[in-house]
Subunit: 116 residues, 2 copies
DNA sequence: AAACTATGTCGTAAACATACGACACAATAA
DNA sequence: TTATTGTGTCGTATGTTTACGACATAGTTT
């Protein structure tokens, strides 16, 4: 993707793909759900809840942070992570627009060229 | 992802990640939009509309087909592609559920441990 | 200060994705 | 039949992701 002829695609397409990529691993989906499930910030020890090493989890967190989907605040020795709900709301809208566009398109049927 | 300790994650998390991965490249987002923009099936010559070689586009089509997000019907010499709108609708619902879960979580604020 | 604890960063091996030329094949056209 | 055309598949080079151990760093405790 990074060496795709990226200039051709619209900003919208690239943004959607970027976010989709961030959610393209079950660990990252799980991390977002984990953060959503707590009423307060969660300490950095997210690895304890996942079947992955601390290092690997830190890497997944980095990816989510790079898109600003989550944020981390240093608090003494520990770090609190939480969701950027505002951004997530915007992202949700983008995805919804995309899916609506995709699902309201005319489907193939008896009056179209093929039968799929 | 394929060699993640995949059994640990829920089916839901894996399915969401799988679909997100399918949309994690602007070319594939563009392909879905292209298919949505036509009222009839589109011929296999999707490559002509994208800045990628026919081979590469075929590979992207394969990935979308592997998840059954799109379908192809052979019609003589050409192939018609179209969206699986039913599946897309279901996928939309899954994403919406995920985003709602994520965006309605309690955010950090003055009454939480941190300030993020 | 010294030990400990919570995190982050580096290096790296193995798996995967991306991109595309070259070839294969089946359907149609000449 | 032979040529042409539209698609699919194979091989492969290069880049990216995933995963994790080992080390670095900074705050806390003793």
């Amino acid at each position: 993707m990074t060496y795709a002829k990226t200039a051709f695609f619209t900003q919208e397409q690239q943004q959607l793909a970027r976010v989709a990529k961030a959610l393209a691993h079950p660990a990252r989906v799980a991390i977002v759900q984990l953060l959503a499930s707590k009423t307060t910030c969660i300490s950095g020890d997210i690895a304890a809840e996942l079947p992955l090493s601390r290092t690997t989890v830190a890497q997944h967190l980095q990816e989510l942070k790079a898109l600003d989907l989550i944020r981390g605040e240093i608090d003494g020795l520990t770090v609190c992570y939480c969701l950027n709900t505002e951004l997530l709301r915007r992202v949700h809208q983008q995805f919804t627009a995309f899916f609506i566009e995709a699902t309201t398109s005319a489907t193939c049927g008896p009056d179209s060229a093929c039968a799929c």
